[in-house]
C-alpha cells in the first residue's frame, strides 16, 4: 500500500474516531456511537476508492487498465479449464487464419519483388475463340513489330519458359529456365548480382551461346564460386558461357534456375507465341496501351493462316497473370478459415456468457462495493481482450507451423510465388488486428450484459429463471455456429465426393502400378528422327531386360500429362470431316497399349515391322472411329496427316483402341496413334515417356529404369519417374489440396460447434436443476427428462442446419471450378452433412441430457 493510501486510510479513521467521540460526548454508548458513525459514514472502501480516483485525475485510465489486466489475469487463473479451452480454441482459429493469410498475402497481395511492380503489365493479342486456353502472349512477328513501335510502354520484353538439360557438371539434370529478351531484366528492374545481363547482340540467333544463372543454382551446383563467370557449361548439348548470376530470390518466371537469350528465329511456316511483359510509361493507362496494341496489330499484314480468327488485345497486370489460377481457391480457403474463426468467437462468447453467469455473485459484490457499471463492463472486456491476446500469441506459433504444413501439403509447383511465402510484419499486424477484433467481438455481449446485472437479483437467493440469463443469446450463438459449420462441411463434402468420383473414374487404362519415365532428346545430340528412333529402340530393349518388367512401351505424351500435340487430318470417308475437328496425335511403340492396359477393340497393335519403308499405318481411338465411320469398321480405312495428301501420304487404320482420359480436366480425347518407327517429324518423338508394367511381385522398378537409361545414354536425364497412379494424383493435386484443407477446417468447425452445443446444454441443465428436480418430483421419468434436453438440442441443431443449408446453397458455387461431375448444390451431399451435423449436435447434447436424468429431486429442491 502506498503512503498516499495509508494517509487516506488514516484520514478516514480519524473522521470515524471524531464522529464516535462526538456521539459519545452527546451521551451515546460506545457501541451505539460506533454503529451510528459507521452508518453515517457509509462504505469505507467505496469512499477510499472514489477519493483515490479524485486524487489521480486524468492519468487514471492507464492505472485502471493495469488494474483491470491484473484482475483479469487473476480471474483467468482461477478458472484454468475455461481459460485453457478458450485460449486453445482461439489459438487454433487465429493461427489458422494467420497461416492462410500468410499465403494469401504473399501470393495475391504482396507486390511482385521487382522495381515499381505496379507498372508491369502483360500484353496479349490472341484469338479469343480457341478450343483451349492459352496464357497471355504475342506471336513472334507481332512482338517484333510491337517492340519497335510501342510508346505507351517504356519498353517491352519477351520471354518463354523452357526446360534445359545441364550436363557435364555432375549428373545430367533437367532444370527449369527461361528464354528472355536482352531487356527482360531491365524491364523488371532487376540486375544481375554478378556479371551482366544479355546484350542486344547476344539476343540474336547464332550469337546467343550465353547463360545467366540463378543464385540458388550458382550456390548448389557451382559452390558460389565467382570464377564461374566466363566458364562454359553444357545445356541440351550446347556449350554456353556464363555471363551473370541473378540476385537471391529472383526466379521469374516460375522458379527459373537459368536464363538464355530469347534469340528469335522466325519460321516461315509457324508462329511462336510467348508472354510479353512491359513497363507502362508514367502517365499512360492500360486502356491507352490496349488501343495502341490494337492499332499496331491491325496495321500488320493479315496472316492467311489465321484468317477468320478473332484476336483480342489485352493489357493485364503482370501479377494477375501469375496468380489468377489460384486466386479463387485461395480466397475460398480464406473464407473457410474465417468461418472457423467466427465459430471460435461464438464459442468463446458462449463460454464467457456461461462464465459471466457463474460470476454473477462476484460482480454483484463488486457493484455493491461501489464499482460502477461501466467499470465492470470495462473489466469484463479487458478480460476477453486478454484471452484474445493470449490466444493470438499462441496463434502465431500455430501460424508458423500452419504455414509450414500448408506449403508441405501444397501441390509442388502449382502455387505461384511460393518461395516468397513467409510470416512477416504484415502477418503479425494482421494477427494483432484479428486478435483485438475477436477479443472485442466475443467480449462485447458478455461485458454489456454482465454489467447490467442488478446486485440484489444476483445476491438474492433462489433466483432461478427458466433457462437462466442470456438463454436466447446463447441459443443464437450456437445456432450460428452450427450454420457456419454446416456450410464448411458442405464445401468439404462436395470436394470429397468430387475426389471419390475422380478416383473411381474409368480412365480407359489399367495402370496404377505402371512406372513411367520421360526423356527429352536435345536436337544437338539427336539431329534427326532416325537417331531418336534408334535411342528409343535401344532403351525399349534395355527396359525389357529388367527382371520384374512384364511389359514395356513408349508414348510421346502419356495420359495425364499437361502436354500434347493436337491437329486436324484428312480421312477417306463418305462425308467430309467437320470443320475444326482436331484430334490428339500421339506417337507410340509396339506394346504400349498392352503395357498400359488400353484395350484393342478391333484390328491389331503395331509391330516392329511397321517401320520406315513399310506401308504407313495408324491406330485410332474409339471416338475417332465412331465419329468418322459410324456403323462401319474403321479397320482398313485410310487417313492422312497432310493437308493436301499425295498418293503416298495415306495411312491405313489397322486397329481401334478405347479412348483414354488424357488431360488435367480428366476428359477423354479422340486420338490418332502413329508408330514411332514411321514418324519422321522430330518433335513428334523428341519427348518420349517410357512405361514399364511390373510383374505382380516386382518391387520398385524406378532405380532399374534409371540405370537402364544411364546405360543407353548417360547425358539424358530421367524425368517424371513415377507410377501412373502418382501421375493421376499429381493431375488432381490442386483439388485434393483444397479438399484436404477444407476438410480439416470443416472438422475443426464441427468439433467447435459440438463443443459449443455441449457447453450450452451442460450449462442449461445446471441452471435448470431446480426445475428438473421439480419435474422429477412431480413424476417425470428419466426418459421424459432426456427427451426434454434432447428436444432443445434438436431444435438448436435443426434451426442451425436450416440456416446452414441456405448459406451453402448461396455460397458453394465458388467451388464449381474445383468440382468434377458434382453440382455445388448436390442434394445428397447436403443431406449427408446435415445428418452428420445433427448427429454430432445430438451426441453433444446427450451427455448433459444423461446428467439431467440423474438429478435427484430432493437435492435439487434443497439447493441454495
Amino acid at each position: 500500500m502506498s503512503r498516499r493510501d495509508e494517509e487516506l486510510q488514516e484520514e478516514i479513521a480519524a473522521h470515524l474516531r471524531m464522529a464516535i467521540a462526538d456521539r459519545m460526548a452527546r451521551g451515546a454508548s460506545r457501541d451505539e456511537a460506533e454503529r451510528a458513525a459507521r452508518r453515517e459514514f457509509g462504505n469505507v472502501t467505496h469512499v477510499a476508492e472514489v477519493t483515490r480516483e479524485a486524487q489521480r485525475g486524468p492519468a487514471l485510465w492507464l492505472e485502471r487498465l493495469a488494474q483491470d489486466l491484473r484482475y483479469g489475469w487473476r480471474a483467468l487463473r482461477r478458472t484454468p479449464a475455461f481459460t485453457a479451452v478458450a485460449v486453445a480454441t482461439l489459438a487454433l482459429a487465429i493461427g489458422a487464419n494467420s497461416a492462410v493469410f500468410t499465403v494469401v498475402n504473399s501470393v495475391l497481395l504482396a507486390p511482385l519483388p521487382f522495381r515499381d511492380p505496379g507498372r508491369l503489365y502483360a500484353a496479349s493479342y490472341l484469338p479469343a475463340d480457341l478450343p483451349f486456353e492459352l496464357p497471355p502472349g504475342l506471336d513472334d512477328r507481332l512482338y517484333l513489330e510491337y517492340r519497335g513501335h510501342v510508346s505507351r510502354f517504356e519498353q517491352v520484353a519477351g520471354y518463354q519458359r523452357q526446360a534445359l538439360t545441364l550436363s557435364g557438371a555432375g549428373d545430367a539434370t533437367r532444370l527449369a529456365g527461361a528464354r528472355a529478351s536482352a531487356n527482360f531484366f531491365e524491364v523488371l528492374g532487376v540486375q544481375p548480382a554478378l556479371g551482366r545481363a544479355f546484350t542486344p547482340q547476344e539476343d540474336q540467333a547464332g550469337t546467343d551461346q550465353v547463360v545467366i544463372l540463378s543464385d540458388r543454382l550458382w550456390r548448389t551446383r557451382f559452390n558460389g564460386d565467382r570464377s564461374v563467370l566466363g566458364a562454359t557449361i553444357t545445356l541440351d548439348g550446347i556449350p554456353r558461357t556464363v555471363i551473370g548470376v541473378m540476385p537471391r530470390g529472383f526466379t521469374f518466371p516460375a522458379a527459373s534456375e537459368l536464363w538464355t537469350p530469347l534469340a528469335l528465329r522466325l519460321d516461315a511456316g509457324n508462329s511462336f507465341i510467348f508472354p510479353v511483359v512491359g513497363r507502362l510509361r508514367a502517365g499512360a493507362t492500360p486502356d491507352q496501351a490496349k488501343s495502341e496494341l490494337e492499332a499496331i496489330a491491325g496495321a500488320m499484314p493479315q496472316d492467311p493462316r489465321t484468317a477468320g480468327s478473332h484476336p483480342a488485345a489485352a493489357i493485364i497486370p503482370l501479377k494477375q497473370t501469375l496468380t489468377s489460377h489460384v486466386r479463387t481457391s485461395l480466397l475460398v480457403l480464406a473464407g473457410a478459415v474465417l468461418f472457423v474463426l467466427l465459430i471460435a468467437c461464438a464459442n468463446v462468447a458462449n463460454l464467457l456468457l456461461i462464465r459471466a453467469a457463474t460470476r454473477r455473485h462476484e460482480m454483484a459484490v463488486r457493484v455493491a462495493l461501489g464499482a460502477s457499471r461501466g467499470r465492470i463492463a470495462r473489466q469484463l472486456l479487458t478480460e476477453s481482450v486478454l484471452i484474445g491476446l493470449i490466444g493470438g500469441a499462441f496463434g502465431i506459433l500455430v501460424a508458423f507451423a500452419g504455414v509450414r504444413g500448408l506449403l508441405a501439403m501444397a501441390p509442388a509447383g502449382r502455387i505461384p510465388r511460393v518461395d516468397e511465402v513467409q510470416v512477416n510484419g504484415w502477418v503479425l499486424h494482421f494477427t494483432l488486428a484479428v486478435t483485438l477484433i475477436t477479443g472485442i467481438l466475443f467480449g462485447l455481449v458478455p461485458a454489456k450484459s454482465g454489467a447490467r446485472r442488478e446486485p440484489q437479483e444476483a445476491l438474492g437467493q433462489g433466483m432461478r429463471l427458466m433457462g437462466g440469463p442470456h438463454y436466447r443469446l446463447r441459443s443464437v450463438f450456437v445456432t450460428g455456429e452450427i450454420a457456419l459449420a454446416l456450410i464448411l462441411l458442405t464445401g468439404a463434402g462436395l470436394m470429397i465426393k468430387s475426389f471419390l468420383i475422380m478416383r473411381s473414374l474409368d480412365t480407359g487404362y489399367d495402370a496404377s502400378r505402371v512406372v513411367t519415365m520421360a526423356v527429352d532428346l536435345p536436337p544437338i545430340a539427336f539431329p534427326d528422327a532416325a537417331r531418336m528412333q534408334a535411342f528409343h529402340t535401344a532403351l525399349l530393349e534395355r527396359l525389357a531386360r529388367i527382371p520384374g518388367a512384364r511389359a514395356v512401351g513408349a508414348v510421346s505424351f502419356r495420359p495425364m500429362s499437361d502436354m500434347g500435340i493436337m491437329g486436324d487430318f484428312q480421312a477417306e470417308s463418305p462425308t467430309p470431316l467437320p470443320h475444326g475437328y482436331t484430334v490428339d496425335k500421339t506417337t507410340v511403340s509396339p506394346g504400349y497399349f498392352g503395357a498400359l492396359g488400353i484395350r484393342m477393340l478391333a484390328g491389331r497393335d503395331f509391330t516392329v515391322a511397321d517401320r520406315a519403308g513399310a506401308p504407313g499405318v495408324v491406330v485410332v481411338s474409339e471416338a475417332v472411329a465412331r465419329r468418322i465411320w459410324p456403323n462401319q469398321s474403321a479397320v482398313g480405312k485410310r487417313i492422312s496427316m497432310q493437308d493436301h495428301p499425295g498418293p503416298n501420304d495415306w495411312l491405313s487404320v489397322i486397329g481401334v483402341v478405347n479412348d483414354v482420359v488424357q488431360d488435367e480436366h480428366l476428359s477423354r480425347h479422340s486420338t490418332i496413334y502413329l508408330p514411332y518407327l514411321q514418324t519422321t517429324l522430330p518433335f513428334f518423338i523428341s519427348h518420349m515417356t517410357f512405361v514399364v508394367r511390373p510383374a505382380p511381385q516386382a518391387g520398385n522398378l524406378a532405380p532399374e529404369m534409371r540405370a537402364a537409361l544411364r546405360d543407353v545414354d548417360p547425358a539424358v536425364p530421367a524425368q517424371a519417374l513415377q507410377t501412373m497412379d502418382e501421375s493421376m494424383l499429381d493431375t488432381i493435386a490442386e483439388p485434393v489440396f483444397q479438399m484436404r484443407l477444407l476438410t480439416a477446417f470443416a472438422i475443426l468447425a464441427l468439433l467447435l460447434a459440438a463443443l459449443g452445443t455441449y457447453g450450452v446444454l451442460a450449462y442449461d441443465v445446471t441452471e435448470r436443476t431446480r426445475e428438473i428436480g421439480l419435474r422429477i418430483a412431480l413424476g417425470a421419468t428419466p426418459g421424459n427428462v432426456l427427451r426434454m434436453v434432447l428436444r432443445r438440442t434438436a431444435a438448436l441443431a435443426l434451426v442451425g442446419a436450416a440456416l446452414g443449408i441456405l448459406g451453402s446453397l448461396a455460397l458453394t458455387s465458388v467451388l464449381s471450378k474445383s468440382l468434377f461431375e458434382v453440382k455445388p448444390t448436390d442434394p445428397a451431399t447436403l443431406a449427408a452433412v446435415t445428418a452428420v451435423l445433427v448427429l454430432a449436435a445430438l451426441l453433444a447434447g446427450y451427455l448433459p441430457a444423461q446428467r439431467a436424468t440423474r438429478i435427484r429431486a430432493l437435492t435439487a429442491l434443497l439447493q441454495d
Binding site: E7, L8, E10, E11, I12, A14, H15, R17, M18, A19, A21, D22, E40, F41, G42, N43, H46, V47, V50, T51, E53, A54, Q55, G57, G370
Partner: protein, 121 residues
Amino acid sequence: MTGPRGLSRIELLQGTLDLIVLQTLRWGPSHGYGIAQAIRASSEDVLQVDTGSLYPALHRLERKGWIAAEWSTSENKQRVRVYRLTVEGRKQLARERSQWEQLSRAIGAVLAPPAPRGNEP
C-alpha cells in the same frame, strides 16, 4: 467533460459542493469531519454531505491547488488532516460565488415572477 453549455446534474452538484467546501474553509482551516459538521450545522441540518462525495471533492480541490492540506495534531492529541484555503482558492471562491449568485437570482426570478401589472380588473 461536458462543455459550458450543459449544466449536467452531477456537475451542478459537484460544483455546488466545491463552492460549499471553499466557503466553509473561509472561516479557518478544518479537517474533513469538521467540514462535514460545519456544512450540516450552517445549513440547519438540511444538507448532509455524503463522505463518498466530500472526500473526493477535498482531494480534487487539493489537486487543483485551491486548498492545501497538512497533518496536525487535534485537541485530543490525534493526527488529523487539516485543509485550508489557498490564495488561488480564495479567487476561485469569489468566482464561484458570483456564478452561484447569478444562478440563484435567475432561478429565483423564474420561480417567483413579478406580479403582472395594469391588467387588473
